[in-house]
Amino acid sequence: MAGLSSARCLFRSCSRIKHVERSRHTLMRCGVRTFCGGAQDTGNARPQFTDAAVQDILSRITGLDLQKVFRPILQELNPPTYKLMTDEQVEQAVMGATEKAKKLLQMPPVLPERKPISDVLAEDKMLEGMDTAKFVFTDITYNIPHRERFIVVREPDGTLRKASWDERDRLVQVYFPKEGRKLTAPLIFKEENMKMVFAQDRHEDVLDLCLVQFEPDSSEYIRVHAAAYEDLDKHGKYELLCSTRHFGGMAWYLVNARRVDGLMVDMLKRLLFKDAVSLVSLFHMVHPNSESAKEAASQQATGTDLLKIYAQMESQRSGYIELALQAYEQTAAEGSAA
């Protein structure tokens, strides 16, 4: 009961969403640094999340619905401003808004899980029994990136070791607080609470909070994102994330898990054939050894042929995809005939 009421209080305190807006940009600054670090491993033949081609496809299928990107979010109440504009000025304003929307839709990085730190710097057995508490020493020099900061722990038994990732995150938040981030993770990230929130269709809020709270390569971040994407896939609620910054991450996750059928069906329902085609090409890029990829490469297929090959080879719901393709071709033929 207490857990329910506290969860309800959490959902009511939506002022956190305001903080999320501003801290997004600071997070992107930190995120971009690790982003570039990930793009440097050229040894893998496998395409990574950070490849230009992959990013291009993902940003295209995310879509750019201005109404959804700039929908009213909880922020300070300002009276609306009205401007008198000519048609050209309106067009320019719309272009400026598209630019801003593209920046807001910048995808958060997808990184492999970070390896645990277990470096012991010194073992001094003579200090054993000196104190019952640990000493945690942080270096608060201003100009070092947080990843390179020295944070060491002196245990009561005398060992001097580097701090683990959780301790690091917590102490960096103590000495260099970031807006919107809490010292202890909010209760919303527990399994039961997440299920409740997903039932209310609030995946985007959970993902935004997760982005602010956790580092992109922490296990918590990956776990929350995986849970959100699984739930979306199970219930087919892909349009919740459409035209948001999390869509690319979801598409990448599904493509890597080879469960693209649901997303494909959803796209065809909403008649987004170009997006479906780019999704299939992304799938072939990531899994070049699959049968459909080899067929497509041998036939040099493009457009709806790609979809047909994919439907025949890989998908489990091939019937629906083929029907939808036929309907599309009919409407295209009628349109060109008329």
């Binding site: 054993e128 508490a133 942080t138 270096d139 301790e167």
Partner: protein
């Protein structure tokens, strides 16, 4: 024979002219004139120390120290030159005592000839920045001897109690 009269007695104050300091107490000629600093006392024979200053005097029974570079003659909690870190002696919910050091500035002040006090040296030794302070080791040994004594005493007391119960 070296002329001892010519050799000057080495003042700790002389160290400050080696490193560029913006404070105008030592060198009012080279820096901007701050009117307030002309009214400040000039510490004769004073030197800079890195020490713990108690902060948050509003709460009783809740100490919190700032690691601070200050003049030797100043009050413990009075005006300091620069804050170099913090130390919280009470452990938190994760059983940690949080200590922070701005190592960059500590190196600067030690380079300028600041003296760290014993508690600060012990903390820096525990952090691994300085070698371990001998008193830390001595205190650890003393604590261990004391706990062994109390444990031995408790065992003796138990045995005596058992014998009395038998008898």
């Amino acid at each position: 024979m070296p002329n001892r009269a010519l050799r000057q007695k080495r003042q700790p104050q002389e160290d400050f002219t080696l490193c560029p300091s913006t404070s105008s107490e030592e060198n009012p000629v080279n820096t901007m004139v701050h009117l307030s600093s002309l009214l400040l006392k000039k510490y004769h024979g004073g030197y800079v120390v890195i020490r713990l200053a108690l902060a948050g005097h509003k709460q009783a029974n809740r100490p919190f120290y700032r690691i601070v570079a200050a003049y030797n003659k100043r009050a413990r909690d009075g005006k300091y030159i620069e804050q170099l870190g913090s130390y919280d002696p009470l452990p938190n919910i994760y059983n940690e005592k949080l200590v922070s050091f701005n190592f960059d500035r500590i190196k600067y002040w030690i380079g300028c000839g600041a003296h760290p006090t014993n508690p600060v040296s012990k903390l820096l030794g525990l952090a691994g920045f300085f070698p371990l302070h001998p008193m830390t080791i001595t205190e650890a040994e003393r604590l261990r001897a004391r706990t062994e004594q109390t444990v031995a005493g408790a065992e003796e007391g138990l045995e005596v109690g058992q014998e009395q119960a038998e008898v």
